[in-house]
């Protein structure tokens, strides 16, 4: 297990290297730079050039790249002049928002999705199965950011039950935090709920048709035990894989949902940085997000290995 973990961690390095190269490519493509944002509409060409020189933006990209990698090796991701803080601070400050949003959505999507899927597989070919699957299909077809807007109007404005946006830190007010998370998390979960429900159903159907389940049933084991002890446990492998993929989707979906619900998360940080041409944040933000994603995938592989001991030695 440890060897497997080390192997996975090491194999993440080239991946993250490619990620950093792509972020440089993006920087190279982006027209303009931060100077217009700092200088504003008054700045003359000379002012802009002065700012550019002060921030080192006038130097060739390869030179900036070398400097950046040099700093990275010392654990320094750079400094954002617009935000007045180091990139690491800026990202870490917001990571809790994005992670709690993605985490809660993942929980919602998995729990509700699996319940729908189990229900559908157990009542295979009944109206329950069909309506669960139609729900799942409709859920995964809805564009989530649009659904978010509709949710804000419905629950935030018309009914007034929940806040329309904004974030309350957990440490300040747990109830407020929960209330601020309900709508965005549910919005984000809705499509993935459908994916998980469908996956659960099909792998449950696969497993339930296996001989040993039939044997267990024939031996008179109670239905619930059969489903949860044998069926679900063995259906977990494909489900875990899907959950892994979904956590990435949730991370990126959070980008858009954070904008819709005005949540100060990493996604909005990156989008804002792209709009403002805040290069250090774009690079650092994308790199850290990719790190989180790669790390989640390693966790998924571990879970996979746990559910299926044969998988441990696969690369």
């Amino acid at each position: 297990m440890i060897r497997f973990l080390i192997y996975r961690l090491l194999s993440a390095i080239p991946v993250l290297f490619v990620v950093s190269l792509v972020t440089f490519l993006i920087m190279w493509l982006v027209p303009g730079d931060i100077t217009a944002e700092i200088g504003g509409i008054d700045a003359s060409a000379a002012d802009l050039q002065a700012i550019r020189e002060r921030l080192g933006l006038d130097r060739p990209l390869w030179e900036r790249a070398i400097n950046w990698y040099g700093d990275l090796l010392q654990g320094d991701l750079g400094y954002s002049y617009l935000l007045n803080r180091s990139v690491t601070d800026a990202v870490l400050e917001r990571l809790p928002v994005t992670l709690s949003l993605a985490g809660i959505s993942l929980l919602l999507a998995t729990v509700i999705g699996m319940l729908l899927g189990i229900l559908a597989s157990v009542r295979h070919n009944t109206w329950l199965d069909q309506s669960a699957m139609i729900t799942a299909l409709v859920g995964l077809s809805i564009p989530d950011f649009w659904f978010g807007i509709v949710m804000i109007i419905f629950f935030g404005v018309w009914l007034g039950w929940l806040p329309t946006g904004g974030f309350v830190p957990l440490s300040e007010d747990p109830v407020g935090w929960a209330r601020s998370m309900v709508l965005p998390a549910f919005t984000l979960a809705i499509t993935q709920m459908g994916v998980i429900a469908r996956m659960t159903r099909s792998s449950m159907l696969d497993v339930l048709s296996q001989d040993y389940i039939r044997t267990a049933r024939a031996k008179g084991m109670p239905a619930r035990t059969v489903i949860f002890r044998h069926g679900l446990r063995n259906a977990m492998i494909p489900i875990v894989t899907v959950v892994g993929v979904i956590s990435g989707v949730l991370l990126s979906g959070a980008v858009v949902i954070e904008t819709v619900f005005s949540l100060p998360g990493v996604g909005r940080l990156i989008i804002g940085a792209i709009q403002r041409r805040d290069f250090p944040i774009i690079q650092g933000g994308l790199l850290i997000t990719a790190c989180v994603f790669v790390f989640v995938n390693i966790l998924v592989d571990l879970a996979y290995a746990w559910f299926d001991p044969r998988g441990r030695d696969d690369g």
């Binding site: 792509v22 993006i26 404005v157 990126s252 996604g267 792209i274």
Partner: protein
């Protein structure tokens, strides 16, 4: 299939062709009898026809503005109401399907070509495998459409750039799927047989390997189509999609979002259309998967 059969007389060749056609017909028959596929196909046909005949169906020009009828609610004159420019939302949505369809098809075609190329190359040319796959892993390490957003913003808002950004984002997974299925097919006996009779690499790749790993690719591409349509809306929503006044579905939603309470119709209708089209594509994908790959029915790999 033996070497003799492949090179034998004309009549045998014709018989094979006939058998193929028969198989194709059977396949199509099964496909169109599949309820999901049929429902999805109908939805997509209506969508495509709307897009193709936009100039005939749309009651007004999609960019015609009229400041005397700003934010008018749905009525007999404007079925879907008007937007903040006094433009007819119905006409814009109709033309918007055209933009979505164009982006969807372009991304599917490009992703299909690039994915197949990279996937086949990786599986066929051993020394390239590591390089290609690690690069694709790197691209896939950007969660979801984050890469597309960053790329589209970097390239500047335009339809072409949105297509490029989405293609770059969706190619890696497609290439992986192609590579995986090519590797499976490569190991099969009939490929060895083809090698044995001295068939050229190109012939083997095109005639046997690709033809036989087509199913997962097709299923993946219906999925890419659906995601592209949603992703276009996301890009436009964030202001990095096709620029105005282009009536893309995402642009219409973006236009409507600041007045969502006063003029819900602007954002709600295009959103519904996207949901319905994506639903249609998902249904088609389900049907295709059921028939092409019965083992993994009713669920598909996710984004």
């Amino acid at each position: 299939m033996t070497a003799e059969a492949a090179t034998d007389s004309f009549s045998i060749g014709r018989e094979i062709a006939l058998a193929r056609r028969r198989r194709k017909l059977v396949f199509l028959r099964r496909l169109f009898l599949h309820p999901s596929f049929l429902a999805g196909f109908i939805i997509l046909t209506i969508f495509s026809l709307t897009a193709l005949m936009a100039d005939v169906i749309a009651p007004y020009e999609p960019t015609n503005l009229n400041y005397r009828s700003i934010l008018a609610p749905p009525s007999a004159e404007f079925w879907f109401g008007t937007d903040a420019f006094g433009r007819d939302v119905l006409s814009r949505v109709i033309y918007g399907t055209r933009v979505s369809l164009r982006i969807g098809i372009a991304v599917v075609v490009l992703t299909g070509i690039l994915g197949t190329l990279l996937g086949t190359l990786a599986s066929y040319v051993k020394w390239l495998d590591g390089l290609i796959m690690r690069s694709l892993d790197g691209l896939m390490a950007f969660p979801g459409v984050l890469l597309a957003i960053a790329l589209a913003a970097a390239l500047g808002p335009s339809e072409t750039n949105a297509i490029i950004a989405l293609t770059v984002t969706f190619t890696p997974r497609t290439a992986r799927i192609v590579r995986a299925s090519v590797i499976v097919v490569q190991g099969m006996q009939f490929i060895e047989a083809a090698h044995a009779v001295g068939a050229g690499h190109a012939r083997i790749i095109f005639k046997y390997i690709l033809a036989n790993s087509l199913s997962p690719l097709i299923v993946q591409l219906t999925f890419v189509f659906a995601v592209s349509i949603v992703a276009e809306a996301v890009l436009s929503f964030l202001g990095v999609g096709p620029p105005p006044p282009a009536p893309s579905l995402g642009n219409i939603i973006a236009d409507g979002r600041s007045n969502i309470q006063e003029a819900w119709w602007i954002a709600v209708f295009p959103g519904l259309i996207i949901a319905v089209v994506v639903l249609g594509l998902n249904l088609m994908g389900d049907g295709l998967r059921d028939i092409l790959d019965p083992r993994h029915s009713a669920s598909r790999e996710t984004r």
